[in-house]
Every structure is written in C-alpha cells, then in structure tokens.
C-alpha cells in the first residue's frame, strides 16, 4: 500500500464556504473511501483567510494568492496500491462541479 495526498484547489473564494448540501456531498465522498478502508487520514481544510506567504528578503504578504489563480483549500490522504486507484477515488469528488481541481501526490516517507 502506498499513500497519496489529494490536494484540493479552488478557483473561487466563495467555494471555501460550502453550503450544507456541499458539505454533505463531500462527507459522503470521504466516507465512501473510508468504507473501502482506503482512507489513511481525513486531512484538514486550510484557511483561505488566515494565510500569509513569506518570500526572500523578509517579504510577508497576505493570502496565498499572488501568482497562482487557484488556492489550496485542503487535503486528504488515501492509501491505495497504485496512483491510478488514487486518481479514480479523486475523480468522484464533487469539487469538479465548481471548477476546482485535485492534485494527487505520492507520499515519499523521509528515512
């Protein structure tokens, strides 16, 4: 079993405040993964408001969005044999209805 982090990106700030129906949909998606015993960590949401970016030269700016259009909204860690399986799990996420995207990255454990 390998672990993959699913990184959620949203295009619109408004989507960071989901409706109860959206919350329910996400919950069903995540529980569906847990029901297959493929959820390694239910992860967390990342605040779009309480956010700073630090750059060389002691430059600190508000928010995560200076250069990229989308911002990272949260993450979940799944455990599957292959990255294709992790991608298949990600495809069922409701985020695509609102134009978001998911990045799938294998976790390389530091020795």
């Amino acid at each position: 079993m390998k672990e993959f982090v699913l990184i959620f990106r949203l295009a619109d700030m408004a989507d960071a405040q989901p409706s109860p129906e959206q919350i329910q949909e996400r919950m069903n998606w995540m529980a569906g993964i847990a029901a297959q015993n493929k959820l390694a960590d239910k992860g967390n949401s990342l605040s779009p408001v309480s956010a700073k970016t630090i750059r060389p030269g002691d430059v600190v700016s508000d928010g995560p969005f200076t250069e990229i259009k989308e911002f990272i909204a949260g993450y979940v860690i799944v455990k599957t044999d292959t990255i294709e399986e992790a991608v298949a799990l990600a495809k069922a996420n409701p985020i695509f209805k609102t134009g978001g995207s998911i990045e799938v990255r294998e976790v390389l454990v530091r020795k």
């Binding site: 329910q24 069903n28 995540m30 847990a34 029901a35 297959q36 015993n37 959820l39």
Partner: protein
Amino acid sequence: MSEPLLPHLFRQEYSKMTAVLCRHFGLQHIEIAEDIVSDTFLKAAETWPLNGIPENPPAWLYTVAKNRAKDVLKRQHLFEERIRPAIGRATADSEAEPDFEPQAIADSQLAMIFAVCNPVNAPEAQICLALQILCGFSLEEIANAFLVPRETIKKRLQRGRAALRADDFHIGPLDEHTIKARRPTVINTLYLLFNEGYHSRSNDGLIRKELCSEAIRLALLLTQNAHTDSPEANALLALCCFQASRLEARHTAEGEVVLFEDQDRQQWDQELIHKGNFFLVNACSGNTLSRYHLEAGIAYWHTTPEGTNKWRYILDLYNHLLLLAYTPAAALNRTFALAQVQGRPAALAEALKLGLEQLADYHALLGYLYTGADTELARQHYGQAIALTSTSAGRLTLQKAIDNL
C-alpha cells in the same frame, strides 16, 4: 423450596462476594476467594433445606464467607510466620475482616471490573473472564454462549487468569491514573460483551438476554461512581438500552431472526428506550464524541418512526463512524443507509467497491441491492450468503429473501 432461591442468589451474590474477598486477599489469591464463596454456597445448599431459609439470605452468606475468610487468613498468617519469618510481613492482615457493606461491595466490584479488563489478555479472553469472575457464569454457560467447546473456554480462562495473577492488579480504591489508562479497555470489553449477547450465535434466548443485561449492569456500575463515570460509559449504556429494547422483537418464539423492518414495534420496550434517551443526553454533556456516541445515535434513530430525514441522519452518523475507525460492519451498514437515502443503484455502485467478498453480510447486502434490478444476481448473492452463514436461523432468513424475489 430453596431450589429457585439459591441459583438466583448465586448469580446475584457470587461476583460481589468474590470481589470483596479479592480486595481482601489480593488478586493473586483469587482462587482462595472463589473457594470461600463456593464453600459458602455449598453450606447454604446443605443447611437451608434442613434448617429453613434464613431471614436475610445475603447477610447469612456474607457472615459465613467472612468467618471462612478469617479461618483462611489465620492459617495463612501462621504459614507466613513459620515459613517466612525473615520477611515478617503477612500478605494479608489477619486481624481485619472482609467488608460486606454496600459501599465496599460496589467499590470492590468496580475495582474487579478494572482488574479483569486488562489489555494483557485478548478481548475474547477478557469477555470470558468477565463472564466468569464479574458475572458468575459457569464454564458450560460461557461455552454455550460462544458456541465454543468447553475445553477451549477452559484453556482460555486458565491462560487469562494466569496473566491476571502475574499482573497483580491492586483491588482497592481506584486511582485517577488507573481509571484513565484502563477505561477504554473496560468500555470496549463491556461493549463486546453486550454485542456477544445481542448478536450471539447461540439459539438460547435466555443466555443472550443475560449477556446483554450483565453488560448493562456492569456499565451502570461505572456510571454510578463519580470517578469512573464518563461520556463514553453513558453513550455505551444508551446504545445498550436502545438495542436491548428490541431484544424481544428480534426473535420469534422459535428463535428465528426477525428483520428490523418486519418487527412488531408494539414489542419494543418503551421503558428501555426512555432510559436510552436519558443516558444519551448524559453522554452529550461534554465535547467527547466516541464511536459509542455515534452508535448510540444510530440506535436512537432506529427507535424512531419512519420519517423523511431519518435515514439521512443515520447515513451521516455511519459516515462519521467510518472516519473514526474502519470496520467491515460499519462499511456494510453505511452502504445500506445510502440505499435508503440515494436509492439502490447508487448504493450498489458503492457496494461493489467494498471488497468484502468473504463475508456473508456482504452478499446479503448485494442480494438486497440487486433485488428489483437483477433477480438472477440477487439470487446468486443471497445463495453465497447462505453458503457462508453458520446458523440455521440466519440461513432461514436468507432463504425467505430468495423466496420473496
């Protein structure tokens, strides 16, 4: 004339007296404590038919046990003094006598629960020990409840007892640290004890009921003491009460399982449902959210009439339960709840991903989900479920589902 009274007293007093005596002698001498209690009951069986039943039978038992304990201590004291004079410390104080006051009994029993629910033993061994030491079950009764050969249970108990003796848990007032460290094990063991009764493979309805009511009795002991009371214990009690309210309705007089939707709701025990509500409210007094809370919540919704949102709540609780910890049962039940909320086709798509082909319940679920859509596949999966089911009652229920296709 004393026949019906003695077995009743035995069940009621055996574990109490053993607990009090273990507190006195120390857990490593549990056999001495049990011998004294057995001797006491033997004496009652011999003398009561001749001399009549004493006015206060429990008090009579306590007095006899107390005197026997004193004799044993005196002998032990001599032994200690003669054989090990150099050490100069007796293992027990021969002057003091066992305390059978109600508070001491409650404290001793509580300490015994924490002593028996010891993580050095596997959960199934803990349950056997709990049944024997805390509930006064005989070897036969335990073997009957588990549908396991007597010899297997005997070995399990012997190994478990050896581990307990080696650990030498102090039977006395429980300290904060012990309570905190052992509480999850204690609650889990009582949870498993209840489930063993509720889902027992045994066809003996009486045994099933006794296992359930013993689990409730022991959980009540936890909540009645300020130090051992906890949101989890209350949630467990709520769960037990809700489930137990359906015990009568779950089986026909012939021992056949009645499925939830076919149960006669008039048979549900309303008093137990009220008690469940009471403990569930108590359980939610803090910020703790355990699997017992979620399962109690699910059991609560099952006691309510069919409403528009009932299954949405149940699905949501199963979702949370799965995020807390994966179990195949939670995965299957969650998928069943999904079928009630989103329909069978949506649930079927999820069910096919579960990968639980080795379980009878999985095939029973697939049989249910294929019903109405693909009768042949429904029949096949119900058939596989029957092949994987060990009890005749379970097979009968599945056969009925096939007949109704």
